[in-house]
């Protein structure tokens, strides 16, 4: 479901592959992220134990704040989830902000957000089985076995609400921006689009990224037993 976007049909053998705008914009986002990562990796060789350059300070601040964010939500033992969530965070943030540069945000497509939410869904249940073993499935029979269907439905609602929240916010923003840009020229001369870009792309984009990552952490942290 990617409304109002175009696609290029490519025929390979008997199949027709639809190369949508979302896929191409995702490639751009991926390329930017990979280039940034390679630059940081090259500069990493010059890093010292005690930070000397501003760049090293900057990188260390980002990584440490993400780690402490994960630690405060999931506990010290599961700090390694910071590696995964930092990648998700960077991808969603850059996708949402790509609307500023005239791209159609890849997160304005249900396919992208559903894929991201499904990874969270798999992680929730993998961590549940990994930490609790067979006892994990007993949790579905609580408080009474009679409530099993309701428990299963509430588990299935998690990825749906996660994906639709991000998708609806970003798609709604991009549709309103498209409507504004299709207005007569006089509206675009006064800086209405700039203000709306700040709200829909920067504010809502950053907030939804934060919400997605934080809710994923809360859901995964729910399934792992707390340690004292």
């Amino acid at each position: 479901m990617d409304f109002g976007s175009f696609y290029i049909p490519i025929k390979i053998g008997g199949f027709t592959i639809r190369l949508t705008e979302t896929i191409m914009d995702t490639w751009v986002v991926m390329a930017v992220l990979i280039i940034l990562a390679v630059i940081v990796r090259i500069k990493l060789n010059k890093f010292t134990d005690v930070p000397e350059s501003g760049f090293q300070n900057f990188i260390e601040t980002i990584v440490e704040s993400m780690d402490s964010f994960v630690e405060s939500n999931m506990g010290k033992k599961y700090k390694y989830f910071g590696n995964w969530f930092f990648g998700v965070f960077a991808f969603i943030l850059l996708s949402n902000l790509s609307g500023l540069f005239g791209f159609r945000p890849p997160t304005a497509d249900l396919a992208t957000t559903a894929a991201l939410a499904l990874t969270t869904f798999v992680l929730i249940h993998f961590m549940g089985i990994f930490t609790a073993g067979k006892g994990y499935f007993k949790g579905y029979l609580e408080p009474v076995p009679f409530l099993l269907p309701l428990n299963i439905i509430s588990e299935l609602a998690t990825p749906v609400s996660l994906s639709f929240r991000l998708f609806g916010n970003i798609l709604g923003g991009s549709i309103i921006m498209g409507l504004i840009y299709s207005l007569p020229m006089i509206v675009k001369l006064i800086p209405i689009p700039a203000v709306l870009h700040i709200y829909f792309d920067v504010f809502a984009g950053c907030l939804q990224t934060f919400i997605f990552v934080m809710l994923s952490m809360a859901f995964i942290g729910d399934k792992i037993p707390e340690e004292y």
Binding site: M1, F3, F164, R165, G168, L215
Partner: protein, 92 residues
């Protein structure tokens, strides 16, 4: 030429547009809920100004969760407008 009062295709499209508008009534709920969350957040900051950061992130999380139902309404309205599943079922 068949003797319909309104062409079936146009009727379905018009009703879909009305349905899309009606679906956005769902926007009332998140408005009330987020306003309530923001009011309580302001109250909490007034009572305990040093915990501003924690209150802020908790409030934003709650507001975003309260927004979900409104987003469902928005998604339904968008589906009715841009990817209408009903038009294909109109007999020709």
């Amino acid at each position: 030429m068949n003797n319909y009062l309104i062409e079936p295709h146009a009727f379905v499209l018009g009703c879909s547009a009305i349905g899309a508008g009606t679906a956005m009534i769902a926007g009332i709920g998140p408005g009330v809920g987020q306003g309530f969350a923001a009011g309580k957040g302001a109250e909490a900051v007034g009572r305990q100004p040093e915990a501003r950061g924690t209150i802020m992130s908790t409030m934003l999380l709650g507001a975003a969760v309260a927004e979900t139902t409104g987003i469902y309404g928005l998604v339904i309205a968008i589906i009715l407008l841009f990817a209408n599943p009903l038009v294909g079922q109109v007999p020709n």
